[in-house]
């Protein structure tokens, strides 16, 4: 096992080291070459560790390693490891990061070196988030990944980038601060004065916190993470930010980084503060329905393709929150499945949206049409991605498993909630298929016809196809063979989520 120990650190350190080398003034040729390593090494490590992962880990972490970086006396150590919950997300982060990196390398962006370096810093942070056992570093790596987002939106962003960057920064700082307070509450109230999740879990299993402390502690976590994950009505930064963000940034942020909050609730919030979760669950369920129904209707009204995908991702996050609100093992398991599927799907959609933009010169759905004749491969990819995002079994098998599990958990929790939840699927089918029709079918709009004059509109190039294939193949493979996720996940959840009264009462309250 000793070999794996350093692999986790390596998956964080490699992109960081490459980024530092680029910042230090590496020539462009070498920068691009090294970037392949920076994005590739974490992906290879993630897949390799996934294959080595035991099928029934229980509540243990594997591939553990611990380093004292100077705050050891305060109970803060860089402790890395993976359990059944974090493994699938760690793998997803590696693969999506690789795809986003490939797409960025071929994008030919202005000041490409700095763009790649910032993306690499983000990638390092993402790997760190899911590999951290220490809650402090879990937070720390999230912020490490977040900072480049602000800069990238501000420099390479599209319309309204300055405003979007500022809004993003302030919203996400508020969210980060609230969740930091929540984590500090756990740190001190547990009595162990440690951020080590394993120590905390053992302590809380013996001496759960009082209900009052759990309630306000979970409140901080819920709203802190909620703002970071665009819980309705704190979501307004998200579509604006994604609309303005450069494609690879949007892929990494919407695809991977935004899972931080849900993951935090599943890994830290619910197991440590079950009574607090039970207290907030009814409100959370209503807010999640707000995400699904209200944002779903807002998505219907979008004319801008990228904004539409941004809103759609906010809307689908509602299913994740709904799963959390069930406060049951079934719901949480569904959330993890759903997060993995959502990560691949959203990244793929943002990638394709940008590729469409390169060919049509616009994101406006009314100014496109008929692209299928020029770009049949792209149309196939886009249709598949949209079907997956709707959650139809087939291409979106993994999304389907995730949503199905969540629906079952909701049904066990309170039957009527399934109705608005399923309504969301119908809404996403309407806007998704309408987008496919507007972009690819029908006669080209006048604007697009004029735009095409004198230009060669090509199909997806291989440099664009490759990252899309990485995402789509991973999604389909995992959908066909979800056992690699579910078996370890089930074993971990069964061990981490003891059948405490609070958890079962969460199921019982209707």
């Amino acid at each position: 096992m000793t070999m794996h120990v350093d692999l986790l650190l390596l998956s964080i350190a490699t992109p960081l080291a490459v980024a530092l080398a680029i910042f230090a003034g590496l020539p462009k040729r070498y920068s691009v070459f090294l970037s392949y390593f920076g994005f590739g090494v974490p992906a290879v490590i993630a897949v390799w560790l996934w294959t080595q992962f035991p099928s029934a880990p229980g509540d243990t972490y594997v591939f553990m390693s611990s380093y004292n970086l100077g705050l050891g006396l305060l109970g803060i150590n860089l402790k890395l490891g993976l359990n059944g919950i974090s493994m699938p997300l760690f793998g997803m982060a590696g693969l999506v990061g690789f795809a986003a990196g490939l797409y960025a390398i071929q994008s030919g962006a202005e000041r490409l070196k700095i763009y790649l370096a910032l993306l690499l810093v983000m990638q390092a942070g993402l790997m760190g988030v899911f590999a951290s056992v220490d809650v402090f570093f879990f937070y720390f790596f999230h912020e490490l990944a977040l900072i480049p987002t602000f800069i990238m939106v501000g420099i390479w962003g599209g319309r309204d980038r300055s405003y979007a960057a500022m809004k993003l920064t302030i919203y996400l700082t508020v969210g980060a601060m609230l969740s930091l307070v929540g984590l500090i509450v756990i740190y001190y109230q547990s009595g162990v004065e440690s951020f080590d999740l394993i120590t905390l879990r053992q302590e809380m299993a013996i001496r759960p916190l009082s209900d009052a402390v759990q309630t306000y502690g979970f409140g901080f976590l819920l709203f802190g993470f909620g703002i970071l994950v665009s819980l309705w009505p704190f979501h307004t930064w998200a579509p604006l930010g994604y609309g303005a963000a450069p494609s690879s940034t949007a892929m990494l942020h919407a695809g991977v980084l935004k899972k931080f909050g849900l993951y935090g609730l599943v890994q830290v919030g619910l197991p440590l503060l079950p009574a607090g979760a039970a207290h907030w669950a009814p409100l959370l369920a209503w807010l999640a329905l707000g995400n699904i129904v209200i944002i779903g209707l807002v998505t219907l009204a979008q004319r801008d393709l990228k904004q539409m995908i941004g809103y759609a991702s906010v809307m689908h996050i509602g299913y994740g929150f709904l799963g959390v609100a069930c406060v049951s093992i079934l719901g949480v398991g569904g959330v993890v499945l759903f997060m993995v599927a959502h990560g691949f799907t959203v990244a793929l959609l943002f990638l394709l949206a940008t590729s469409i933009h390169h060919r049509t010169g616009t994101f406006d759905l009314d100014e496109m049409g008929g692209l299928v004749k020029k770009a049949p491969v792209m149309a196939a990819f886009f249709l598949t991605a949209i079907l997956a995002s709707i959650g139809l079994p087939g291409p979106g098998l993994l999304n389907f498993w995730g949503e199905l599990t969540i629906f079952m958990a909701i049904y066990a929790h309170s039957e009527w909630m399934v109705v608005p939840a399923v309504l969301g699927v119908v809404i996403s089918a309407i806007y998704g298929l309408r987008a496919v029709a507007r972009v690819f079918y029908g006669p080209p709009s006048e604007v697009f016809a004029r735009y095409q004059e004198g230009r060669e509109v090509t199909d997806l190039r291989w440099s664009e196809r490759l990252p899309a294939i990485v995402l789509l193949v991973s999604l389909i493979a995992l959908g066909v063979w979800p056992r690699v996720i579910t078996t370890p996940l089930n074993s971990a959840l069964a061990a981490i989520y003891p059948e405490t009264p609070a958890l079962s009462s969460g199921v019982a309250t209707k």
Binding site: L74, I147, I155
Partner: protein, 506 residues
């Protein structure tokens, strides 16, 4: 006074305990001598002598960090040497070196006498070192006045600039007022401690900190002592610029030459806090009075500093007001130290990361400013990332660290303060601090935005060229300084090494 008494007094004078201060004094005099002795064309080497001399002293000090006089009281109770004092000595020496480097850059753009600047900076630094080690109210006041008088000269150093003169006058009047308030407080304490009507320990006139503390512990509810304590705290609050004693800060920071602003913002403030930590210990029997006073100050300081900084376009005023808010965060650490001594390590660590980040920002400001040192607007930073990417990078790291954005050192400092505050049960202060941090993101990020994001500007009228400030190339000493500050700010965010452990176990 007979001979015997003098002999016992002299026997307690451990001059070896003062070697850094003595050597700094000699160095300061050497600079003046060199100016007379050396021919004019060689005067350029004198600042180098100052910087290299201080660097050598820094190395010597670091090697002797656990020198032989620790936890001893020397000079008949005037001074007390502690590890915290050693830490602050290193801190002030570092500050002084950085101010000298900035001085070289900034003075090259002015027609001003040069050598006296370095002389005064070094003398003031030595006085700060004595200040934080003082163990007696007389020593405390004398050292504090030495610092303040040095600053009177430094603030109005660019005497051809009316704003600098105005700042000097303001600082003089405000400083004199604060000194008199402080002195009044000390006199009141002297009066009660020496009054034979009360239970005393050290005899009349014993004004060393240990005796005052014991007196306060024996007389827990003395009205005059309370007034004295509040007045002394107010005097210190002037130095660290907390509300309601912050009114001088924006104007003086704006008018003072940028290196002096940095010196005020870091050195003077840190000296105030080191003293406040000592005084908080002395006044600990009157906790029920000190804690509410400091808490009220902290709340008002954080909110005022951040809200007022929001509306600034002049970067010197902006950094001044943001510095006010940092004083508020540090106050939380001082208050938390009453119930959790680990909080003090948070204060010292915060001061250190504040030094690194502030000097990174001030270093960039010194390079971006034109000949009119007081006029440094946000718009002067437009396109800095394109014209001088190195400076823009250092600026981003410095501002990010000040804002407390992970993974930079400022974040670790803030987390340590927050942890201490939560542990001490200061929930209100913690809440205010978090609101403050969120507000501060707006103006720090706005500054970064001004430097990095290209923005649309009014096209120049036909026939006129855009009045852009001439960009000054970065010389190698400044480059070394700025890059090491930036690297240290990043490194301390990831890896604190033995530093934090040393501070906690001190």
């Amino acid at each position: 006074m007979n001979l015997e008494l003098l002999q016992t007094a002299a026997a307690n004078n451990r001059w070896g305990a003062l070697f850094p201060e003595l050597l700094l004094g000699c160095l300061a005099l050497l600079l003046l001598v060199l100016e007379i002795v050396l021919p004019k064309k060689h005067h350029g080497t004198i600042p180098a002598v100052a910087i290299v001399g201080q660097l050598a002293l820094l190395v010597a000090l670091l090697l002797n960090l656990r020198g032989g006089f620790l936890d001893q009281v020397t000079f008949n109770g005037l001074l007390r040497h502690t590890l915290s004092g050693q830490f602050m000595r290193v801190f002030f020496l570092l500050t002084s070196i950085l101010v000298c480097v900035l001085g070289v850059v900034s003075l090259s753009r002015q027609r001003m006498p040069r050598i006296e600047f370095f002389h005064i900076v070094i003398v003031v630094s030595a006085a700060m070192m004595l200040l934080v080690q003082s163990h007696h109210f007389v020593m405390f006041f004398v050292a504090l006045e030495t610092v303040t008088i040095g600053f009177y000269i430094l603030v109005s150093y660019y005497r051809t600039n009316p704003l600098s003169l105005e700042a000097g006058l303001k600082y003089l009047i405000m400083g004199a007022l604060s000194s008199s308030i402080l002195l009044f407080g000390i006199v009141l304490l002297y009066g009660v401690v020496g009054n034979p009507a009360y239970a005393t320990v050290g005899g009349p006139g014993a004004m060393d900190f240990a005796s005052v503390r014991q007196f306060l512990a024996l007389n827990p509810d003395n009205f005059l002592a309370k007034v004295g304590i509040v007045l002394v705290l107010s005097g210190v609050a002037f130095k660290i610029g907390t509300v309601p004693f912050q009114i001088w800060v924006p104007d003086v920071y704006q008018g003072a030459p940028t290196p002096v602003t940095a010196f005020l913002a870091v050195g003077s403030k840190a000296a105030g806090f080191a003293v406040l930590v000592v005084l908080a210990g002395v006044f600990s029997p009157y906790q029920s009075l000190v804690v509410p006073v400091l808490s009220a100050m902290a709340v008002a300081t954080i909110l005022f500093g951040n809200l007022a900084a929001l509306t600034q376009f002049n970067v010197k005023r902006l950094i001044a007001l943001s510095g006010v808010s940092h004083a508020g965060y540090l106050l939380i650490g001082v208050i938390a130290a009453y119930s959790d001594p680990v909080a003090l390590s948070a204060v010292y660590f915060y001061l250190l990361v504040y030094l690194l980040a502030s000097f990174a920002v001030f270093g960039v400001m010194t390079h971006v400013s034109g000949t009119n040192d007081a006029e440094q607007e946000l718009e002067h930073y437009a396109d800095l990332a394109k014209t001088q990417p190195f400076l823009a990078f250092v600026l981003a790291v410095g501002l990010g660290s000040l804002a407390g954005i992970p993974p930079l050192a400022g974040f670790i400092g803030k987390v340590m303060i927050f942890l201490a505050a939560f542990h001490a049960g200061l929930y209100l202060l913690l809440g205010v601090a978090i609101v403050g941090v969120v507000i501060s993101i707006y103006y720090y990020f706005g500054w970064i935005k001004a430097a990095f994001f290209s923005s649309w500007r009014l096209p120049a009228p036909a026939g006129e060229t855009q009045a852009a400030l001439p960009r000054i190339p970065v010389g190698w000493p400044a480059k070394v300084m700025l890059s090491s500050l930036a690297v240290a700010s990043i490194l301390l965010g990831f890896y604190q090494g033995p530093l934090v452990e040393w501070l906690i176990l001190r």
